[in-house]
């Protein structure tokens, strides 16, 4: 790769990359993101490469490892180009068939296609999968198409042309005006206008003559992995966004703060930074413009609170990752006391799109106040676990049922925790809420960073709230009293209720605690930690009351409130439960009725799972 010295050299190079990009050529694109790797994608990739070499097809057919396209439920994923046949759940054993039947003979292997759970129909082509059809893929567009370790791939699809446009024809003020006009709001939590934030930072940078920008890739929400996938699958989009931001705000140094638990993302990002530097797209005198921008990577140790911007800055400076009060805001006094602008991964990655397509185009997507797209990581009791990028304003129902494929095993939807552990839990009656910043906030949830955990009818909402409270309580940094002790008090109360030891007044005590922790905590962690409890009380108060007053867990989840027993008419004495019980709580001889000793039973539920005659019941 040559060091590009000017905008025109870039243009020539980028055009040649674009001309060489051909998605009508035979190619196997294999997801090689962390999710698919966990399911064995690397073995599949190696086997495919071997098999193709053995059959001497390697000169005609390319095999590319890509970033995560989001359909993690069905991984490892392979897309066969040019037709874009989508194969799913590939094992190494499937490789010979794929090569021999599909690549050589052009046959489609039905057994590897996605089956629509509603119609039972096989779906052949990737664009026809319902999971993708309702999405609006902007930030995730290149994931699944490009090789994230190749700058050339990113450039071929228009990568760095936004930077070129900015350097060649826009002043910093024009860039900020464009970002403001696009209506882009922060994708990391609070949803603050990105353009306005940039303007504030720029003003202060001009005053003091120095400043920093930071990409927040700490992503600590349980079950969330969209930022990881963007950095892993398309690291150059984040870098391009940051160079544009640095130019707009007049700063020359930036950091990506990323958790060390994301080794692949870190690897791909570091490689991309090197490539961009070599190509003259990052570093000194970018594309001969005279503008310098250095980008470093800082690894976080995986504390949720280090995603909070002031704690993040403390961590970058090498201090304890504890938040400090704001004001002063980072834009006033940030890293080493200098004005600092922090944005989320998705916010940065949206910038090249905003600049390339223009503010008008971008702001036509979404609702009046929430523009563009949002990536949700959809997990929990849902058929299509994965990442979905949707236009703002789509309904929760569309996201969960049309894209997410609904609830597994024919169960009913009960609630969705939206916005991560700081968000709220919405019941079925609010399934038609449009997903935008204001509508969700009005119901007690938030867009947040895009976490979405789905609960089905078998989920106990008190236990669900306890889960999130347990998370925030463990992640509280402990600096301030309301959060350090208040979250512990809330958790203990929830645990007591789940254990069947709830007392009248507990719900009021929880509400009182929640209000104090929210209003009095120092940082966003404490200020939002009570939200799951508040919303579950708001929408499922009857479940709390059933636990406290009737000593019943309606969903039959809370161990302190359920008993397992064997239905005499159904038990045929097969002894399977007895053999599987790890607590020796079951007695009975062969072909005789088995009995569970309630004292010894730990409520693990194994007997119920192993009984072939549905003879175990829970009450």
């Amino acid at each position: 790769m040559n060091h590009l010295q000017s905008v025109s050299e870039f243009q020539t190079w980028q055009k040649s990359m674009a001309a060489g990009w051909d998605e009508t050529k035979p190619c196997l694109r294999v997801c090689d993101g962390t999710g698919c790797r966990a399911l064995g994608s690397q073995k599949v990739l190696a086997a495919l490469r071997d098999e193709i070499k053995n059959t001497k097809l390697d000169t005609q057919i390319e095999v590319v490892g890509t970033g995560c396209p989001g359909f993690c439920e069905c991984g490892p994923l392979i897309t066969v180009y040019p037709q874009r046949i989508s194969y799913q759940k590939i094992r190494v054993q499937d490789v010979p068939d794929i090569v021999e039947k599909t690549l050589v003979k052009g046959q489609v292997l039905d057994r590897l296609l996605y089956t629509d759970p509603l119609t039972g129909e096989h779906i052949k082509l990737e664009p026809d999968l319902p999971f993708y059809q309702r999405q609006k893929r902007l930030v995730l567009d290149f994931n699944g198409r490009i090789d994230p370790t190749k700058l050339e791939d990113y450039a071929a699809l228009g990568g760095y042309t936004a930077l070129e446009k900015v350097l060649a024809s826009m002043t910093p003020e024009q860039v900020i005006a464009e970002v403001k006009a696009s209506g882009l709001r922060g994708r990391g939590g609070a949803g603050f206008s990105t353009g306005t934030k940039w303007q504030l930072c720029r003003n202060n940078v001009l005053k003091v003559g120095a400043g920093f920008i930071v990409c927040n890739a700490d992503e600590g929400d349980p079950g969330a992995f969209m930022d990881r996938s963007v950095v892993e699958g398309n690291p150059h989009s984040v870098i391009e966004g940051m160079v544009i931001g640095a130019y707009a705000m007049g700063v020359h140094q930036g950091f990506v703060y990323i958790r060390a638990e994301y080794p692949l993302a870190v690897e791909n990002l570091k490689l991309a930074i090197k490539q961009a530097e070599t190509a003259g797209l990052l570093g000194k005198d970018i594309l001969g413009s005279g503008f310098d921008f250095m980008l470093g990577v800082r690894l976080g140790a995986g504390a949720f609170v280090c995603g909070e911007e002031t704690a993040l800055m403390a961590s970058i400076e090498g201090r304890i990752g504890e938040p400090r009060p704001r004001p002063p805001y980072p834009a006033e006094e940030g890293l080493w006391g200098k004005p600092t602008n922090i944005n989320n991964v998705k916010s940065w990655a949206s910038i090249p799109i905003v600049i390339r397509q223009g503010a008008e185009w971008y702001s036509a997507i979404g609702t009046e106040k929430s523009k563009g797209t949002m990536i949700f990581s959809v997990v929990g009791k849902i058929n299509n676990t994965g990442l979905a990028e949707v236009p703002m304003g789509i309904s929760l129902r569309q996201l969960i049922f049309d894209i997410g494929g609904g609830i597994p095993n024919g169960k009913a939807f009960k609630a969705a925790q939206i916005g991560g552990p700081s968000g709220g839990c919405l019941p079925a009656e609010h399934l038609d809420v449009p997903i935008d910043y204001e509508s969700l906030t009005a119901l007690g949830a938030i867009v947040g960073s895009g976490g979405l955990v789905v609960a089905d009818e078998d989920t106990c909402m008190v236990d669900f709230a306890r889960y999130f409270m347990n998370f925030t309580q463990e992640e509280s940094c402990g600096k301030c009293v309301p959060c350090r002790i208040g979250t512990k008090a809330m958790l203990s109360t929830l645990e007591r209720i789940c254990a069947g030891k709830g007392q009248p007044g507990d719900v009021d005590y929880l509400l009182e605690l929640a209000s104090a922790v929210k209003s009095s905590s120092l940082c966003g962690l404490g200020q939002t930690a009570p939200n799951p409890v508040l919303t579950t009380i708001r929408y499922f108060r009857d479940e709390y009351e059933a636990h406290i007053f009737d000593k019943k867990c309606p969903a039959k989840v809370c161990k302190g409130l359920i008993t397992y027993s064997i239905i005499p008419e159904k038990c045929n004495g097969c002894m399977v439960c007895l053999r599987n019980c790890t607590s020796n709580a079951i007695s009975g001889a062969k072909r005789e009725l088995h009995v569970i000793d309630d004292e010894l039973c730990t409520r693990c539920g194994v007997c119920m799972n192993v009984c072939k005659f549905d003879a175990v019941e829970v009450n």
Binding site: I485, T487, A489, A516, S520
Partner: protein
């Protein structure tokens, strides 16, 4: 000068003052635990909260020790919201320090009637961070810090072993609002330790050439006794 309204009274303060400083300058009592005029404010105990009412009518609870005085601000130091917040915070501090006289007195002052939740272990340390800041900002030694997080957080030396940095000056002992540290004289050495710990933070040799302590400790003690409500 900055003009603001505190508890319906117009007040004028120098630029750069915190709300707490403004209140104290004007004789308005605000309870505090982690604040000390000689140290950088911390914002950890949340007892100093006040209500700030914004021009759009919305209001918010803020910690006055770390909140700047803004021109035209309207502040209430004793509203229902403030009283409730402080009372719950005191109840939560009591949850961990239920046998500590200073905290029991605080609970009484702020109207805590019942401590509905208690941690298993009583601890006089309320993690106000005064000792850590004093050791760093006044003594300049930085021998102690907070370790771990959340409910497990505590003040300690690195690796919880006697620190070679600690000069045994006892500033932490003097500044601690709840007496969570102790001095111990053993065989010609003065040890400083957190009360219920199995190790010493550090020690000081009494007497002899190295005995710098007397003057030093007097200076510190002088600093510590700064009257709470100046002006």
């Amino acid at each position: 000068m900055i003009h603001l309204t505190i508890d319906d009274k117009p007040i004028e303060v120098q630029e750069g003052r915190s709300l707490l400083e403004a209140c104290r300058e004007h004789g308005i009592h605000i309870p505090t635990l982690c604040y000390h005029p000689a140290l950088e404010p911390y914002g950890g105990c949340r007892l100093c909260v006040v209500e700030v009412i914004f021009p759009n009518g919305r209001s918010r609870i803020v910690a006055s020790c770390v909140y700047p005085c803004e021109e035209g601000a309207v502040v209430k130091t004793n509203s229902e919201m403030v009283v409730r917040s402080r009372r719950m915070t005191a109840e939560l501090i009591l949850a961990g320090s239920y046998n500590t006289p200073e905290i029991l007195a605080l609970g009484e002052e702020l109207g805590v009637k019942d401590v509905r939740f208690k941690l298993e272990e009583e601890n006089a340390c309320v993690l106000c961070g005064l000792c850590v800041r004093a050791c760093d900002e006044i003594v300049g030694v930085n021998a102690i810090s907070v370790i771990q997080r959340g409910i497990a957080k505590k003040v300690a030396t690195p690796f919880q072993v006697t620190s070679s940095r600690c000069i045994g000056c006892g500033t932490c002992v003097l500044i601690c609002p709840t007496g969570a540290f102790k001095f111990e004289n053993v065989a010609g050495f003065q040890y400083v330790s957190p009360k219920e710990s199995a190790y010493h933070l550090g020690y000081y040799r009494l007497g002899g050439e190295l005995d710098l302590r007397p003057n030093f400790v007097q200076d510190i003690a002088g600093l510590m006794s700064t009257p709470e409500d100046e002006g």
